[in-house]
Assembly symmetry: C2
């Protein structure tokens, strides 16, 4: 069994809307010595969102009555709530200072991933939404890297999520390509022939959490990490594998 | 920013009750080249439980009426349920095939961590509970390694937990010593001076998830991983930092 290496990619510029992110990432990968078979590139979702121009100027937003009512409950800007609701398929919890929704992509998180931090201070009151289709973004970056380096990597777009029963945010995969999300270990047996108790393993989330040790939350200077040596089944998955079906959700 | 390396420790024997786990781990660390400053040793909880003899022979268990009632609801062995309840402070959810409780250590997980898999097939119907006090176990192993190598490492005892809203298990820290559990990043600012949105980061859980990529679920051949190069504040924490206070739990 080999080591796993988490290699921070440095030297990327601050990403602007329209930037050619696959090329910039390729340059960073090249500076790190290129791709190896089995590599997984983990990206902070924020640079993908920025390259896609997923900003909304709050001055252009007219909050609905529903958004105003929710905003009162959580004591937030009604225009921000309007953006959050437009990115959500259901409101899960609202408390003072807090709104948790099911994102239109199917996962549950705070603020629908809409972010006021790390947005340039040009005087405009704007927020940044998650990438429109993170699986697709991952697929596009993967294709570009594969074309450039002749090696087909996995790509994960990672965000940090809070958790219902545990304090502290951890990195999770909100988009991916070229690797599985959840691995099904049913049928595998342990040393003594017992079937395994844990049979669905959140492989891509664990890779995202590992990389987030380096991505941090603040330093846009390290927006990408190369994970080398992780072992997973050769299958092209989707981050939607992580969405627990409603009928299996015991904490709705 | 340096790489992080995840180094699997190999060559440990199958652990038996009473084994000198700190010595066996020290031998494995020595084979891997010794400790470096900042290293974190992540252990599968199972080897700690086994060394502590945390087995229960189900033939010695008399289920209470409550255990029998719960066992009917989840279609499990009433003796197993008795053991699970004895390790729990509250039952959270019971469904056919499933019981989720708040463990006496304060975290929420399935089966109170009581495990039928990976237990030797000597004909006795027995189960393995989590270590009695995982923080204490981590502290003892840390002290032994520090004495042997003259370097004070972090130690994490990891288990794999399911999650309310996401499919797939991920590694988490159920015991730790020599590093923080949750890091408080309040006051830190991003590149543009905005305060960070995510201010409590589950550092030890992310390290546990990273190591669990190697620990896997099946292979007792790799029961420990050395994590080298992770950056965290110099503070001695506890896994209890991850326990979300009841009043902050929106999914009770």
């Amino acid at each position: 069994m080999n080591d796993i290496r988490l290699i921070p990619l440095t030297g990327l510029p601050l990403i602007q809307p329209g930037d050619d992110l696959p090329r910039l990432l390729g340059d960073a990968v090249e500076r790190a010595g290129g791709l190896q078979r089995g590599d997984v590139l983990v990206l902070a979702q924020k640079i993908v969102s920025k390259a896609e121009g997923r900003y909304v100027d709050l001055d252009t937003v007219t909050p609905s009555d529903h958004a105003r009512a929710v905003a009162l409950q959580c004591d937030k800007d009604p225009r921000l709530i309007e953006v959050i609701l437009s990115e959500s398929e259901a409101v899960m919890r609202v408390r003072p200072g807090l709104i948790i929704t099911r994102h239109r992509l199917g996962f549950v998180c705070a603020n629908a991933g809409v972010d006021r931090s790390n947005v340039a201070p040009d005087g405009i009151d704007r927020v940044l939404r998650l990438p429109e289709d993170p699986d697709r973004s991952a697929q596009q970056i993967r294709a570009a890297l594969c074309g450039r380096f002749g090696v087909d990597p996995g790509v994960i777009i990672a965000d940090s999520h809070g958790r219902p029963h545990r304090l502290g945010t951890v990195g999770v995969a909100i988009g991916l390509s070229g690797l599985p999300g959840v691995e099904d270990w049913r049928g595998r047996r342990d040393l003594f022939g017992y079937t395994l108790q844990h049979t669905e393993v959140g492989t891509a989330d664990q890779i995202a959490a590992a990389a987030t040790l380096l991505l941090g939350q603040a330093a846009e200077a390290i927006p990408a990490v190369l994970v080398r040596g992780a072992i997973f089944e050769a299958r092209d998955g989707t981050a939607r594998e992580f969405n627990r079906p409603r009928e299996l959700d015991l904490f709705p």
